[in-house]
Amino acid sequence: MDAFRISPSPIDPAALQRSLADPRAGACVAFEGWVRNRNDGQPVRSLEYEAYPVLAEAEGARILAEARVRFELIGAVAVHRVGHLQLGELAVWVGVTAEHRASAFEACRYIIDEAKARLPIWKKEHYTDGATAWINCATRGDHGGAGAMPPA
C-alpha cells in the first residue's frame, strides 16, 4: 500500500508498521521525527505544526510514488502530525518495505528529505522564554529570526 496522511491525532507507529506487513518484504526501515528541546541554540518548549492538508497529502502521495519506483519498494507509508506537540512527541513517521535493506534505507531517507522540502507544512517553535517563531520565515528586520513574536 501507499499512503501519506496528515493527522491531528497522535501517530501509532505499531499500527503503521503492521499495515506494511508483506511476505515479499525482507526489510522494513522506519524513521521517526521527534520534537526536541533545542533548535539553532535556542531552548524549545513545544512545536506547533500546521498543514495545508489537501495539497500536503497529494504531494506526499507523489513522493511515496516516486520512492516506490526509484527504489523498487514493496510498501511505503508516512504520517505527519499537525497541532501543538510537546517535547518527545512523534511529529512524523515514515516506513518502507523492500526485498532488501539497501533500497529500504535509501528510500526512507529520500521520503523524509523530500517531505521536509516539498510538503506545505509549517512549524512554529515556542521557546522557553515565551517567544515564538515560524521556522524558515525570517525576513530582514526581524530580531528573533523567523517572523518572530516577542514573549506574550
Binding site: 511529529a91 512549524k123 520565515c137
Partner: protein
C-alpha cells in the same frame, strides 16, 4: 475584476488575522495578487519566498487567475 477565494496558513494567517477571505481583484496572476495583499496587509515575506497553489495544485506565480479560483500562498515550508 475577478472574485477569488484566498486561504491563509501559518505566518500569513497570523499576519492577516483571518484564515480565509473573498476578494475582488484586478490582479491577473498569483504574483500580482500577492503583491496587492502584501501592500494591504503588511506581509513580511517577499513574493519570491512564497509559492502559490490554485484549486489545490501548485502553480507558477505567473499563471493566469480565473474568477472563483481558490488561492493559497505558501510560505517557506518546514515539515519534519
Amino acid at each position: 475584476m475577478l472574485t477569488v477565494d484566498i486561504h491563509y496558513f501559518a505566518i500569513l494567517r497570523e499576519q492577516r488575522g483571518v484564515s480565509q477571505e473573498k476578494l475582488a481583484t484586478a490582479a491577473a496572476t498569483p504574483a500580482e495578487l500577492y503583491e496587492e495583499l502584501r501592500a494591504r496587509h503588511g506581509f513580511t515575506l517577499p513574493g519570491n519566498r512564497v509559492r502559490a497553489a490554485v484549486n489545490d495544485a501548485f502553480v507558477d506565480a505567473a499563471a493566469p487567475l480565473r474568477d472563483g479560483d481558490r488561492i493559497v500562498f505558501i510560505p517557506p515550508v518546514a515539515g519534519g
